[in-house]
């Protein structure tokens, strides 16, 4: 009844239960945080706009991103993955989402930033539909906790219209 094995087992079970409970509490505490992030994106220039040999349109552009995502951070936040996506509709696809740029924020201090960048991933359409096309720029973020549930949200920003001719 009171052997070493039983005591070790009871202690282990108790420790694991407490740990699981604390993880659940930590994850729940995230839901009490109501973040108020702000972001602004401005397309500065279209560097290249061409039809590739396989017939798909490709765009290269430069943009400014300024964002304040500090309020996303809680004590249970390991990192915030933030990315900029272009979203548009074509005759072939009801939704196209193309990730253009992303960034991993590890510290709360780094969550207030202003960056000028060209698109990190290639902006290629499925087909040749990009001339004169309107698209939305959306800043998404994905919060990874130290433990528990992950969160994601986005800010849809003003759109941009691509030029009518290749350049």
């Amino acid at each position: 009844m009171h052997s070493f094995g039983y005591r070790a087992n009871a202690l282990f079970t108790f420790a694991v239960t407490i740990l699981a409970f604390m993880c659940a509490i930590a994850s729940f505490s995230d839901t009490l945080n109501s973040p108020t992030p702000t972001a602004h994106v401005q397309v500065l220039s279209i560097n290249r706009f061409q039809k590739r040999p396989d017939g798909d349109d490709e765009v290269s552009m430069t943009f400014n991103i300024s964002a304040n995502l500090r309020s996303l951070f809680t004590w249970n936040t390991k990192q915030v993955f933030v990315f900029l996506a272009a979203e548009y509709e074509t005759s072939k696809n009801s939704l196209n989402q193309v990730s253009l740029w992303d960034y991993i924020i590890l510290e709360k201090e780094d969550a207030y930033f202003r960056i000028r960048s060209t698109n990190k991933y290639r902006f290629i359409d499925q087909g040749s539909n990009l001339r004169g096309k309107d698209f939305n720029l959306t800043l998404h973020w994905h919060v990874m906790p130290k433990t528990g549930k992950m969160f994601a949200d986005k800010i849809v920003m003003t759109g941009y219209r691509l030029p009518e001719v290749y350049r």
Binding site: S27, S94, Q97
Partner: protein, 180 residues
């Protein structure tokens, strides 16, 4: 003589009952584990509700040995989500982030491109030969929850099977020798 016979019978019956109780206890442990697993499968809709991260391709978010809880719903897949997918001809599923989505209007068919946060390029090199996009049927689920370190138990057990046998043996011995 009758008295001794009675005693022997009673001892035999005690041992038999004890053995039976132990067998039932063992059975209960195994079946309850199975019930929890299958229950999770029903709730999450994913054929493997929990996966262990095996590579560092999603660092610093997910490290080797972390556990992910998956959920498979009818909701459309969007960029930024972390999905678990199977490639034809590859045994081990991969956990990576979606960076591109192209969705057809009527059928809802979808082309998906993924990338590991810690990898320099996208996953086209990991896909099957000539495969450019993932489709819906490749996706096993999306990651919704996260628990650090717990997966090391399974990693150690698969990489050092001896540990597994020792553990199972010790547990079995404990169950058999224990009395109430």
């Amino acid at each position: 003589m009758g008295w001794i016979g009675e005693q022997v019978d009673s001892i035999k019956s005690i041992q038999f009952r004890q053995l039976l109780t132990q067998a039932i206890t063992l059975g209960m442990i195994v079946t309850s584990a199975l019930i929890i697993w299958k229950g999770l499968m029903c709730v999450t809709g994913s054929e493997s509700p929990v996966v262990v991260v095996l590579s560092g391709s999603m660092e610093p978010g997910f490290k080797r040995g972390d556990i992910l809880f998956l959920h498979m719903s009818k909701d459309p897949i969007r960029t930024g989500e972390i999905v678990v997918f199977n490639i034809d001809g590859r045994e081990i599923p991969i956990v990576h982030r979606v960076i591109k989505v192209h969705e057809r209007p009527d059928t809802g068919e979808v082309d998906i491109l993924t990338k590991g946060d810690n990898n320099p390029g996208d996953d086209r090199l990991l896909y099957a030969r000539g495969q450019q996009w993932l489709q819906r049927q490749h996706i096993m689920g999306r990651a919704v929850g996260f628990l650090p370190y717990v997966g090391w138990v399974t990693i150690i057990m698969t990489e050092k099977p001896i540990v597994k046998y020792i553990l199972i043996g010790a547990l079995g011995l404990l169950v058999i020798t224990s009395k109430e």
